[in-house]
């Protein structure tokens, strides 16, 4: 007890890790959501395999399918950014390189989610 900090000040904030259990929970909850969504995606891909462009277009233009595909793509990409963050945390040392990699992952993920959603809107609008 050589510290002059009060016990209250010591427990405030999130310490050296800068974060709490938020990352852990988000990874688990997105994983749980991806089990049914991944099964639906497999069902959809098998149903569309060997068909033509018209079948794929009309499938994805259906509101429920567009919604499920939007949910699958965005939750998948969010889960991906959480997972890749752990890989960077484990293997990329040095604050600068680490921040660069984490920002790059976030930029790519946000850009890819936007691209997927925009593509789905274009598909819905085209039919």
């Amino acid at each position: 007890m050589n510290s002059l900090q009060t016990p209250l000040h010591r427990v405030q904030g999130l310490g050296a890790s800068h974060s709490g259990t938020g990352h852990f929970w988000r990874q688990r909850i997105t994983a749980l959501a991806l089990v049914p969504l991944g099964l639906w995606f497999t069902f959809a891909m098998l149903g569309l395999a060997g068909t033509n462009e018209v079948a794929v277009l009309s499938f994805l233009a259906h509101p429920w399918n567009a919604l499920l595909m939007a949910a699958f793509a965005s939750i998948l990409l969010y889960h991906m950014s959480l997972g890749l963050q752990v890989v960077v945390d484990d293997y990329v040392h040095g604050a600068g390189a680490r921040i660069f990699c984490l920002l790059l992952i976030r930029f790519v993920v946000i850009a890819t989610i936007s691209t997927c959603l925009f593509a789905l809107i274009r598909i819905a609008a085209s039919t």
């Binding site: 749980l32 991944g38 098998l46 149903g47 997972g83 890819t112 997927c116 598909i123």
Partner: protein
């Protein structure tokens, strides 16, 4: 001692690294989970590419399919299918662990082997399903 500051990374003990351990199913499954996760990140980008190609009309879709259905494309597709199967099955194994089930050493090894077998069966099953003409039911 006092005039020689501690040099980081020099003569300091390291924790045992990968090469020290005997290879085990649980360890291999953990490494494979991460590897398939990284592979599926590439798969997510291909999913975006697929959606964009459909939104670009018939020519865009044709150009995507002409690349995807090459032998190399099909091998990569099989890789994605197996990766998704493995990552999902092993992910369920992880979720069970998070709830406190299956931590027993024998159980963890058995479920690890099971995930490898089931993921291969699933991936081969998906391709067999398509090649025997059962797919395409959403026409």
């Amino acid at each position: 001692m006092a005039d020689k500051p501690q040099q980081p990374g020099h003569e300091r003990p390291l924790s045992p690294h990968l090469s020290i351990y005997r290879w085990q199913v649980t360890m291999l499954a953990s490494i494979t989970h991460r590897a398939t996760g990284i592979a599926l990140s590439v798969g997510a980008l291909v999913l975006a590419w697929w959606l964009v190609s459909i939104s670009n009309g018939p020519e865009g879709y044709e150009s995507f399919m002409s690349i995807a259905t090459t032998p190399v494309g099909l091998v990569i597709l099989f890789g994605f299918v197996w990766s998704l199967s493995f990552h999902m099955l092993n992910g369920i194994r992880h979720l069970a662990w998070d709830m406190g089930y299956g931590f027993n050493k024998v159980t963890a090894t058995q479920t690890g082997s099971l995930v490898y077998v089931l993921s291969l069966v699933l991936a081969v099953g998906v391709f067999a399903f398509v090649w025997t003409g059962h797919a395409g039911y959403l026409q």
